[in-house]
C-alpha cells in the first residue's frame, strides 16, 4: 500500500493515470502530454508499474500501457488530486534527474 501512496503522491503520475482512463496508450503518446525528459517519464512509469497501478505490454518496438486501478485506488487518486497532494523531491523522485541519482527506469527502452 505504501507503493500505491508514493505513486499517487505525484501530480505527473496522477495525470498519467487520468490519460489512461480513456484507454491504453503507448509510452510515446503518454510522454507527448508532458514537458519532461523521456528518462524521467520512464521512472514515472516504473513507479506506477511497481505499485501495480498500470500494466505494460510490448507490441513490436513500443510499450503499451493500460490502467490497472481498483475502485479504492481510483478514489485515493481523486482525493490526492483534489487536495493537491505532492511529495517533496527525494532520491527516488523523478522530479530530479534520474541518471544523476542512479534511479533505474527503463529509460529510452520504453519509447
Amino acid at each position: 500500500m505504501n507503493k500505491v501512496f508514493k505513486a499517487l503522491a505525484d501530480p505527473t503520475r496522477r495525470q498519467v493515470l487520468t490519460l489512461l482512463k480513456n484507454g491504453p496508450l503507448t509510452a510515446g503518446e503518454l510522454a507527448d502530454h508532458f514537458e519532461v525528459s523521456k528518462p524521467t517519464m520512464s521512472v514515472h512509469f516504473s513507479i506506477l508499474r511497481e505499485a501495480d497501478l498500470i500494466a505494460s505490454t510490448k507490441q513490436g518496438k513500443t510499450i503499451v500501457y493500460c490502467l490497472k486501478l481498483s475502485v479504492l485506488e481510483e478514489a485515493l487518486a481523486g482525493f490526492a488530486g483534489l487536495l493537491g497532494i505532492q511529495v517533496k523531491a527525494s532520491p527516488g523522485d523523478p522530479h530530479v534527474e534520474p541518471n544523476i541519482l542512479g534511479v533505474k527506469g527503463n529509460n529510452e527502452n520504453d519509447f
Partner: protein, 194 residues
Amino acid sequence: MKTTSDRITFSLAVVLSLWVAFASAYLLYVDSDHPSRYLLAIAFVCVGWSLRHVLRGKAETACKLEQSQRKLTQSIALGALILSLALIARLGWLDALGDFGERSRGIIAGAIVVFVANTIPKQTGSARALAMRRAIGWAMVLGGLAYSLAWLLLPLSYANDAAMCTMLPTMIYVMGRFSWFVYQCRSNPSAGAR
C-alpha cells in the same frame, strides 16, 4: 518471495477452511435431511486446496506459480469466509446475538460486495472493456456501501427494504451496462478494441 501479507492470507485460508470443514461435518451429522449443501461446502474447500496443489506441477516459472497460488489462496480465503458466515447463521449463533446479529449479517453482505467489486476494474483489456469494468466496479462499490450503511444506521424495520432499494437499482444498472457492452462488441467489434 513470500511476503507477510501472503503468509497472513495463507493462514487465514487454512483456518477458515478447517472451520468450514468441521462445521459442515457437524451440521451434516445433526441435520441429515439436507446433506447436499454441507457436502458442497466441504467439496469447495477440498477442490480449492487440490487445485492449489496441482498448480505446482503445471506452472512454467516460479514467478507465475507464486502469482497463481496467491490468487487461488485469496479466492479460497474469500470463499471460505462467505461459507463460514453462512454456517454460523445456520448454527444459530447470529440469532443468539439478537438485533446485532441481524444487522451484522447485512453489514457483512454489503462489505463482501464492496470487497469483490473493488477489484473488478483492476484487470487489463481494451478501452471499451476498461470503461465497462470501471462503471460496474464503481456502481457495485457504491451499492454495497449503501447496503451496509442501510443495515448499520436505519431502524431494523426499514433496514432490509432500504438496503434492497439501494441494491436493486445497482444490479439493474450493472446488467444494463454489461448488456450494452456485449451489444456494442457485437455490432462494432473493431472500435475501442486496442
